[in-house]
Symmetry: C3
Subunit: 361 residues, 3 copies
Amino acid sequence: MIPLNHWLVACTADELAALGERPLGRTIASNRLVIWRDAAGAAHAVDDWCPHRGAPLSLGRVEAGRLVCGYHGLQMGCDGRAVAMPGQRVKAFPAVRRFPVRERGGFVFVWPGEPALAENAPLPALRWLDEPGWAYGGGVYRVQCEARLMIDNLMDLTHETYVHAGSIGQREIDEALPVTRVEGDTVITERQMQGVTAPPFWQAALRAQGLPEDARVDRWQVCRFSPPSQVMIDVGVAMAGEGAQLAPDDRKAAAVVVDFITPETDTSIWYFWGMARRFRADDAALTERIREGQGAIFAEDTAVLEAQQANLLRHPDRRLLRLNIDAGGVQARRVLDRLVAAERAAPATVATPPEVPADPR
Amino acid sequence: MIPLNHWLVACTADELAALGERPLGRTIASNRLVIWRDAAGAAHAVDDWCPHRGAPLSLGRVEAGRLVCGYHGLQMGCDGRAVAMPGQRVKAFPAVRRFPVRERGGFVFVWPGEPALAENAPLPALRWLDEPGWAYGGGVYRVQCEARLMIDNLMDLTHETYVHAGSIGQREIDEALPVTRVEGDTVITERQMQGVTAPPFWQAALRAQGLPEDARVDRWQVCRFSPPSQVMIDVGVAMAGEGAQLAPDDRKAAAVVVDFITPETDTSIWYFWGMARRFRADDAALTERIREGQGAIFAEDTAVLEAQQANLLRHPDRRLLRLNIDAGGVQARRVLDRLVAAERAAPATVATPPEVPADPR
Amino acid sequence: MIPLNHWLVACTADELAALGERPLGRTIASNRLVIWRDAAGAAHAVDDWCPHRGAPLSLGRVEAGRLVCGYHGLQMGCDGRAVAMPGQRVKAFPAVRRFPVRERGGFVFVWPGEPALAENAPLPALRWLDEPGWAYGGGVYRVQCEARLMIDNLMDLTHETYVHAGSIGQREIDEALPVTRVEGDTVITERQMQGVTAPPFWQAALRAQGLPEDARVDRWQVCRFSPPSQVMIDVGVAMAGEGAQLAPDDRKAAAVVVDFITPETDTSIWYFWGMARRFRADDAALTERIREGQGAIFAEDTAVLEAQQANLLRHPDRRLLRLNIDAGGVQARRVLDRLVAAERAAPATVATPPEVPADPR
């Protein structure tokens, strides 16, 4: 479980665009939503349920920015109330639940919790939009594991040596112990490797930067978890002894691994992954090459996580070890547990769908 | 739920023929049946269960009209009693339930209710067999929705505008309000559209009839629901102002959409669909062309109905609207509820399978 | 249910070899195991669970005979205790359950019951290894039926006439009544057919033996069930009147059908099938030809058994007949019931996995 009074990435602008005039049906935090753009281009999300006969609105079409049910033509408004229906007065029709929506940087966010709290809640910081000189590329996977297993995965990069042996793993990761600290609701796990050889992924980055790929480098990984379920990881390599992250831009290759984890159900997630980088930001071909490489690497994680999830479901009573390398995930779970408990303790203000009258005629 | 003391279409003669010497296994109203023809060509249906070791009889073969179990060769009679088995005396073998069977017009009907009531119960009227000048073509789909959702669909053709926009839908359907009346157990919903342009399917029919496809026409749809779950729809177009259904045969294209809906389980059906027509009845190529077109159109319905069913199962507590356009389906449900209640109130005479003794040796 | 204090075939050496450096994950008697070979080539089996974070060890690799978890590199020992993990002291790590393993004749056996009882328990006799002049070939199928249905199948070969009409079935099987006897925990069902024509499979064997394929032969089938779930079947044909099984080697074709049935779950099995023969044992091409033919024949059984299992699960309350031909299966079930009851009555010594402490740091 994760706290719900937060903005969650529901989909990307690319996903909406690929559907053309069709809306997107997607389950977010166990709510089945339909997402579409109005005539002005603003995205909206409501319960994927036509109040007429319960058909999914996501089977319908978007006509001039209006969501039209594909069964009998009810037109749904962005506030969850029917706007029109051929031959009918829709005023008394029950509304369906609407979900607050925001959009930034190609991400469409929805708010699955109490709508009134959404208004003043800031979106997650997207550093690569706020500062010049960055490039971003990414994608989305559906993974059959709960959000916490993915957070564990991203807060303990020890797994790179084993899961990603051919790309970003290297033995030195095992030798450099990570250090974890908690700052409010943020959990930070940092690992520094000094004077190592870059693994294949970073050799390619060094080449792209015009630096020698076989040089001794200092490598860093700084994982930052923030609620409800995002992990931003500062990663990079710099010529050895020149200050690692603090080295001059032309002596390093630096990037941020971007991970937005959106629960679909209690045992599955939408995993929005990407990389924002500060080297050769103009090189679109490089962006695409990195995106493809990262997509292949992160697919290796999904296989392990799905098998782990299946094993945990088989043995719900077994406890897991919490080693020093697990501290990041363990602390992130504590933050989540605290926030979920606080939401539950709060007055029951989470929106419930409006009651549907028995027979409104 | 539908009432069970009725003839239900279990399969078509074509389906049996396609299997050659193999019997057909099919679930009808939650009963798993095996259906086969005896040496005289008469169809029979019994529980798909070999009384010896429980293997499905439908895995077996039909040899000279006898159903032979594919595991150890038990021969099953059309009364549900074993006829013979190599090396065994079968007299004391427990019988399996048999289901009354009738056949007409290429449809094989079974009676899932009390067998004694079957004898004098008439088959559904198949008008195209009783009058000269008709042609018929059709097919069968398995659809994962309950029977009532399909009945709703067929009693409210408003959906044609949205689900079948490219074939039989047209905006004027929305504008012509349907009128519903109940005559005993029959529910009739009628819609008349005057002076409209024919949609693509009916333009093709006009061409086939030798009439101008772009003429103004009067179009009619008269949906007739009869228990337990059939809907016959008089449809057609006539040159405008010549009396619609009453226009002379050479001034109209008229047909009956035939729908036999057989529950497989509580959430799935066998949907026997077809069209009987009174124009160019000798044209077999036209029959086949219409069958293919209708098959494509009705596949559009199945996608919507399966998504609607999944949504309803997700939210069993939500109520649906009942608008004027839904009156046909709403009235049909009332008829069904009344008949089901009456069957339940009747003395418990529905056949139960005979008790199997523990060890008959 | 079958008794667990027995050696069960878990996999073949061929299956392990095909995986190269990857271990094998397999469920045996509802325990999910990982099986691998150490540096000396000895096979081991432990719970498919990494004590660190619950990932399946079967996703990992075998490096120099050590099983390495594919997530964070924990090295698992053959006793179920962690051997090492980068950057960690593993001494206090909880152990996972280990399963005794033996190997012989290309079969890897595991002991799913009380480990202490395994030590002195003999492996099943593999006659074709202990006597000269035999050849063996076989394979493995996963079948979705409980072990008892497969035992029934193999103890009542009457089904050959119906399931295997094109290969080993013949009408005379139905005419020759089998005789069943029980000797301790062994159940023997014997059928003798005198002066018959060989069915296609045995005609091929006669040809291979240099005997006339159309000769009158005496055919025998002697099925031997032994706990927990193996059936060895002496089969063959000899020139008629020369003593059947006792005929001189050059006047008969004789073989043993080998069946090791290992429960995967309560409703599925790993079925290790094969044939050991005493004619033309040097002819490897013949071994392969027989293996292919037998594989095709036994696939016919799996289709029937899976359909039978599905039918039985649909009607758990229905009883089956127990005819004279079923005596072998019925007696085998009695042996199994007796042994299972005895195991349950014994002091609860079956190993449970060690308790995992909440937080061992």
